[in-house]
Symmetry: C2
């Protein structure tokens, strides 16, 4: 498999460059902007995820001999464009919301400043990463709220494309999950991994008791035993008989959880296993988690719903050309007028206005080139991510992932209470454009 990310690109990005090069417009100085017109699922806020991962992919966005040969053979672009692609690396500027930042409709999450050709070619990759990772983070942050401080583990790899699964584990971690089952996510992004045994392990052995003995012999009594392969009550009894009252946890993966969890807690306590925890993993989403708030659950494992964005598998972000540098050096705002898809052109400076008590109450998007003064009531949202082609190292790798996870906590702590309602509704903080 090739490791260049350069062909993770829609063909029309290259044909546009081809035509613009012939016309002499490919080198126009441009601004592209990523934003979402709405929050899918009528959620109250979104969480930016994918930025650090994207920066690494932009670093690897180079056309090697294999890519150029394929483009030549398939007659995608002409020789001038092939020569230009051979020397391509992104040399412009990118700034944007920090990874882990909260966003609202029309928040300018990422801005790319470069020649037309240099910027347009990144459209597909930028959107693939931000749309998927933010969709996962948007779902995950709601689950974290619903879990009222109890730990969550992401275990949905099997319900997502194998590479998407790694990105999902990372996005869920940034949004507050504590661990993942995905080993590659552990290796690539430094995320804690977890997991003990599945039903197959119990079925493999002559009896549930034998399976539990095998697991405890190898993994110790602090492990988690899956007790619902046959009969939960008998499974719990066997688990404590085999492991003793110091058993770490039992896992429930079926049944009506609010009822079952309460019964199992009583059974464990009656057996003297008062310290044995209960983890649940049965098709949970934010609503099921919220429905267990008053049940004696100790932790949650979430699969399908988090890796598929809990009903909103793409964050509906778009990448739009919003300005072109005019002959006088000033930005000329550009905006299409398509029905239902009109956009606001020009350079923008986003600020989050905070109340005296530090609560976010407005997303203020200043239009024009003047940067507004930052004061105690407005927090600037943009940070430099790439400066003259140099990627800000701070946001890369495991360290960047950890930083994004911290930043989400800070950003979410500014939100008004209405942001945490799970019901569909309007964004918790209104976005306003402020002309200059």
């Amino acid at each position: 498999m090739n490791t260049s990310t350069a062909l993770h690109t829609d063909r029309y990005e290259l044909t546009m460059i081809d035509a613009a090069m012939a016309r002499g417009t490919a080198e126009e100085h441009c601004l592209f902007e990523v934003f979402a017109r709405r929050l899918p699922g009528a959620r109250r806020y979104g969480v930016v995820a994918g930025t650090g991962r994207l920066l690494e992919l932009i670093r690897d966005f180079r056309f090697g001999d294999a890519e150029l040969e394929w483009l030549r053979t398939h007659d995608v672009v002409g020789q001038d464009t092939l020569d230009w692609l051979a020397n391509y690396r992104f040399r412009g500027n990118i700034w944007g919301y920090r990874e882990g930042e909260v966003y609202f409709p029309n928040s300018p999450i990422l801005t790319v400043e470069s020649s037309f050709a240099e910027g347009v070619i990144l459209e597909t990759l930028v959107l693939s990463v931000l749309n998927y990772d933010s969709a996962v983070a948007n779902a995950a942050t709601r689950m974290v709220t619903a879990a009222i401080g109890r730990p969550l583990a992401e275990m949905g790899s099997r319900r997502a494309n194998e590479e998407a699964a790694v990105a999902a584990a990372r996005a869920a971690y940034i949004a507050g999950f504590g661990a993942t089952s995905n080993l590659e996510a552990g290796r690539r992004w430094g995320i804690p991994t977890m997991g003990t045994a599945a039903h197959a392990f119990t079925l493999l052995h002559a009896s549930e008791e034998e399976a539990f003995r095998a697991q405890i012999e190898k993994l110790g009594t602090n492990t988690t035993l899956l007790v619902d392969t046959y009969d939960v009550r008998a499974g719990v009894e066997t688990a404590i008989r085999v492991a003793g009252t110091e058993l770490g946890a039992i896992r429930l993966d079926s049944g009506d959880l609010p009822t079952l969890v309460t019964e199992v807690r009583e059974q464990l306590d009656a057996l003297g296993a008062t310290g044995t925890k209960i983890t649940v993993t049965n098709d949970l989403d934010e609503h099921a988690i919220a429905g267990l708030a008053n049940s004696p659950v100790d932790s949650y494992g979430v699969g399908t719903s988090v890796v598929t964005g809990s009903g909103s598998p793409a964050a509906s972000m778009v990448y739009k050309l919003v300005a072109r540098r005019g002959a006088d050096g000033a930005w000329v705002p550009l905006a299409k007028n398509s029905e239902g898809k009109a956009s606001i052109g020009g350079k923008k400076t986003p600020m989050r206005r905070l109340s005296a008590s530090g609560r976010a109450n407005q997303e203020r998007i200043y239009l024009g080139e003047t940067t507004p003064a930052q004061d105690v009531t407005e927090r600037a949202l943009n940070v430099p991510l790439v400066v003259n082609g140099e990627i800000e190292e701070l946001y890369l790798g495991a360290a960047g992932t950890a930083l994004a996870r911290e930043h989400r906590v800070a950003a979410v702590s500014e939100l008004p209470a209405a942001a945490f309602r799970l019901a569909r509704g309007d964004a918790a903080v209104p976005t306003v454009f402020i002309g200059n």
Copy 2:
């Protein structure tokens, strides 16, 4: 980036192997089966996709030094298991439905025969691939039906993880789409690629007319011009004025399509551009496509809905241990009894029963080791995919992808008319288990 697929695995697969090795059960001869308990979205049939891609990933499922070192450092498994992993390659048998085959609830899509350890370790990867690719194919096949023979192009890369996008392009192609915008899918799987220009290209230029001239100069008059950046009627007029009446196509990406398409067709005809085609690309799904059946649309571009499975982003397939070889050499059926998740153990032979006119009317799953006689009324569904670790080359690469695309046409042609209803409902063909 590492190219081994071995860590695309849930941690518990490895801890189960670790415990089973210590207990002496890791080498038990086992059968694992992939099936879906239901068709998500209450669809009438499903299309298997991902198999050829999966076989290549299984070939690359090897633990190299980097993987072993990471597992050792993070104390995931003990030394005996690390030694076993170092020598791992799949040496068992895999058989299953052909890629492109139709399936129903409980169809045993894939069966893995191997030692417990050798088979259980593939669970996560197998499900990641089949669940995502089949989810896309399940959505795409309905869109193909709704398009009543008009060509469809997949252009949803920006709304899916960057690697998922490549898999989605492949799955949509297998399900009958004719092309993709994704260049990497073109390179990796031999899928035709397409695309010309976006709104950004029009915005970049001083006028729509100048943008159209630039595009036509480079791409010729047989190109597709996007006419809705400003005003559609003016855009169409400009397009024909610049390109002449031989213009290949115009693209509409906004507005109320049934009305707009009819108006634009009339305008094109009035301008003499009777051969200029109309392609539409505005947030289409199978229902929107069906709603355009009586409109003069020539082709469709589909994005978000196809790459996200049109509301069902994972096919809900599971990978279950269904049998273990007993001391006498016979398969012992295994099945858990968890509430709402009970399964049917044992070896199975799936056949599709056909009426005298060749119409599928029953999915017959024979239980037990006797292979039923195949006759004119029953079509055997299993083919060998891996034999003693040797992968069937026929199904790999671009050739395997093309074969799967052909097979879907044949399999779908057997379906009863009820299968093509877009409304929610029961599977079009009932699945029955037949004991021995």
